[in-house]
Symmetry: C2
Subunit: 185 residues, 2 copies
């Protein structure tokens, strides 16, 4: 992907996190990214294509910041917990990513064009977490990963919408991980 394309997708994520999917205007995005609207249409086809690629971009970026949880010397249990907790951090990039992800999730209810990519991105995330869960409990089904990622989404939206503090969201997630792994105190 060219630097220009990356710049457009970064700007699209920023715009969505600021004003929502329905508030995303291609003209504003062009201004934000410092490119022409023609270039946006050239690279992404239409609005639906742009939104699909933005979803993919958000997913890749989340992979990068949660990858910090996977240090070579870590225990599988600690790696899983760190990886999931990295989704709940008061960092501008995480806040922006999670806000945009929640927005795209909510918009997919109204916009069938988004559903396929969202389903794929969700599945990819669940599979990554399922692999980490299997590192701790090789006999685990994917239920644990599916539930933990859905819990991350639910807690993240509560935190971003001001219904709970970040500390509380992290505490609840840590408890959920312990329950799923069967090592709850």
């Amino acid at each position: 992907m060219s630097d220009r394309q990356t710049a457009i997708l970064e700007a699209a994520t920023r715009c969505i996190a600021r004003k929502g999917v329905r508030g995303l205007r291609v003209e504003e995005l062009a201004a934000e990214a410092g490119v022409s609207t023609a270039l946006i249409y050239y690279h992404f086809g239409d609005r639906a294509g742009l939104l699909r690629r933005t979803l993919e971009f958000i997913n890749d970026r989340a992979d990068r910041y949660t990858a910090a949880g996977v240090t070579p010397e870590g225990e599988p249990r600690a790696i899983l917990e760190r990886t999931l907790l990295l989704e709940l951090q008061d960092e501008p990039s995480v806040r922006e990513n999670s806000t945009a992800w929640g927005e795209l999730r909510a918009s997919a209810i109204f916009d069938p064009d988004l559903r396929e990519q969202l389903g794929l991105s969700t599945r990819r995330w669940v599979e990554d977490i399922a692999e980490l869960v299997k590192g701790v409990r090789p006999d685990a089904s994917t239920d644990a990963a599916e539930r933990l990622t859905a819990l991350v989404e639910g807690l993240s939206e509560r935190w971003l919408s001001g219904s709970i503090t970040l500390e509380r969201a992290r505490e609840l997630l840590r408890g959920g991980i312990a329950l799923e792994l069967g090592d709850a105190g």
Copy 2:
């Protein structure tokens, strides 16, 4: 509350579930409810007031359809499970309620006016579920209720946005309840 006010709030929920919070136009709402825009402003003050009351209305309606889970002869365990599973039903009123709730949750990230009411409604829901949890495990902290309701929100959004089936969402929720209550197979 007058019938007219109820009609306006029902129509507002319908409009939000159809086009999102940002797609809600007071003129369209007036047409949908069969009243004048002046009457809407008279009863609800401004757009923020209308959204707050709509949140309250959605919460009250969810209380009513989940109350069907609480039959006098039920075991506490069955009552809790039924009540939570009633949030995941392919019924138009549940779909509409959950879609509008998710939309209001997502919008609160951008709209500080909504946060207080959303926080209150969330707390009320968590307290209701915490009471049911205590009926099964009197020593339980509110963590279980807080996690289970966040999981319902996460699973509900995945179902509504087409990332998982309703059956799968219900299965995952049942598993989550079993883990929280410590009676997982």
